[in-house]
Symmetry: C2
Subunit: 311 residues, 2 copies
């Protein structure tokens, strides 16, 4: 059986009822049409995942669909935006209906949880390449910018670091007692939408941790023209990650591993008590440029870079 491009998109992706009040026209015309309520700005982001670069060949398609959307929703969360809709650009080596059904289930399942409508897309033939553009709303002037950190701010993260990094190591062969939680953090991350919304009007700078804490916090420092010191002993770590560090001595891992999709943000000491209880203070914004690490009383300069595709 051969499915036309149009039939293929229709079959797996267009049966969803419109859920978001911003969607005036969804899939099927030259463009989708969105209504943006007065007093809001539109936040827009795009991320592409390529086979053998961002995920292993043969990756489970339901998880892939989930993760593809999650990494884009995470960018909206990092701005304090509420997601409203997404577009999906699929490049597929062939039409595999079982694969597409599972991929759509993972993608649309997460979309449905956040009342996000799939409003358009594009399907082409080629190396498996998955692109998403995500759109969200944030009250005008309230977006959380990377450039907004101030000297004296506390640095927080929204949850445990390094679990996704451990999940990657497990999927590459590392053995630990209870692999499922770490694998889930790696394969089906949770975008911290509600945290991002809770930070509106409270946090200064914010970013999501996709490339690793050191690298992503580095973007805040660079764009805010400040420095920071983070306290290793304050990092929230799961028992599984602590066990990994004890077993391997690799204490840098939770600082440099990506894919956690927790939020890292800065907040004035006065506003810190307003934060959700699960947020953890890990350091301080300082005037001196550079990222310093206090590990058991010894301070060292961190020079770490995130993953770069052409380095």
């Amino acid at each position: 059986m051969s499915l036309s491009e149009f039939g293929l998109i229709q079959r797996f992706f267009t049966k969803q009822a419109v859920k978001n009040p911003s969607t005036r026209l969804g899939i099927g015309d030259d463009c989708a049409l969105l209504t943006i309520p007065d007093g809001y700005e539109l936040a827009v982001t795009t991320d592409t995942m390529v086979e053998n670069v961002h995920f292993f060949a043969g990756a489970e398609p339901r998880q892939l669909g989930h993760k593809l959307l999650a990494v884009n929703l995470s960018d909206l969360a990092a701005m304090g935006a509420r997601p409203i809709s997404v577009m999906l650009a699929l490049t597929l080596p062939q039409v595999d209906e079982t694969w597409l059904a599972a991929f759509a289930q993972g993608f649309l399942g997460l979309a449905g949880q956040h009342n996000v409508d799939l409003i358009g897309g594009d399907t082409t033939a080629g190396t498996l390449t998955l692109g998403v553009q995500a759109l969200g709303l944030v009250p005008s002037g309230q977006a959380l910018l990377r450039s907004a950190a101030q000297v004296g701010d506390f640095i927080y993260v929204s949850g445990n670091l390094g679990d996704a990094g451990l999940g990657l190591k497990i999927s590459q062969g590392y053995c630990c007692g209870d692999p499922d939680a770490a694998l889930a953090r790696f394969n089906t991350p949770t975008p911290r939408i509600e945290t991002g919304l809770a930070l509106r009007g409270i946090a200064h700078a914010c970013i999501d941790i996709s490339d690793g804490l050191a690298s992503d916090l580095g973007h805040i420092l660079g764009q805010s023209q400040v420095g920071a010191c983070i306290n290793w002993d304050a990092l929230p770590l799961s028992d599984a990650v602590l066990g990994y560090i004890v077993a391997t001595g690799d204490w840098l891992m939770p600082l440099v591993a990506g894919d956690d999709y927790e939020l890292c943000f800065t907040v004035s000491p006065e506003q810190a008590p307003s934060l959700p209880a699960y947020c953890r203070k890990i350091g301080l914004i300082e005037a001196t440029p550079g990222l310093r690490l206090n590990k058991s009383g010894t301070i060292q300069l961190l020079k770490v870079k995130g993953y770069e595709h052409f380095s």
Copy 2:
């Protein structure tokens, strides 16, 4: 020399000054931020071009950058939307600075002509795959929908048909006297933005001709639940295309060849006098389903499909 992903994007794509009043925050944060004026809806579209599928390997990068943006702006034109900004998802097999400089020149040159800001993007390593998401504004309720054709409407096109198809044949080896104009139509199409804006409040249904007149008009007929008869002798054809038809007998070409990016639209007889003078009436919307062709007095049913990637 190795350029980081970030440096690569910065170097070639972020030196542009912000030109569009809707851009509140461009490249460099988790998301871009846009201000949407009251009384407008946002039109959103995405299109991906893959090497060896949508363009030949070794295609001239400046033309490729132009065409990639043009096909997306053309979708906005077909809604009657004015483009404001674009995001660019580049998947590149390697960093070739000469290629990137030329590609950026083609892309940003066309963007600048329409005051379109590049507000974000993504660069990954892999098979050459070029994705764009384009955003535009249209006054609320005035978008030109494929579903809006009415029985009795005249069918118009905004310019000559088949020139891009001839350009494709020339690039594949067909010889004609003056190849440059047809090649330019194929390689560097012009999105009919101004025509789309002029059609607001005048035209009913509208679509851009990317897959060929018969296929794209077919989408209008399907979504409007009407039929049509088009008059072959009324099709606007360049001397070069007429010469091709005389030489080859291939009179179907201007009906089925894609890439012209002219607009095809329907309009009530009363509104037809308000159209720009360069628009050409080519047929009539009828109640009987199907697409019919009147060629020198003989009427035949057209059964043609556009290009399908997985057929």
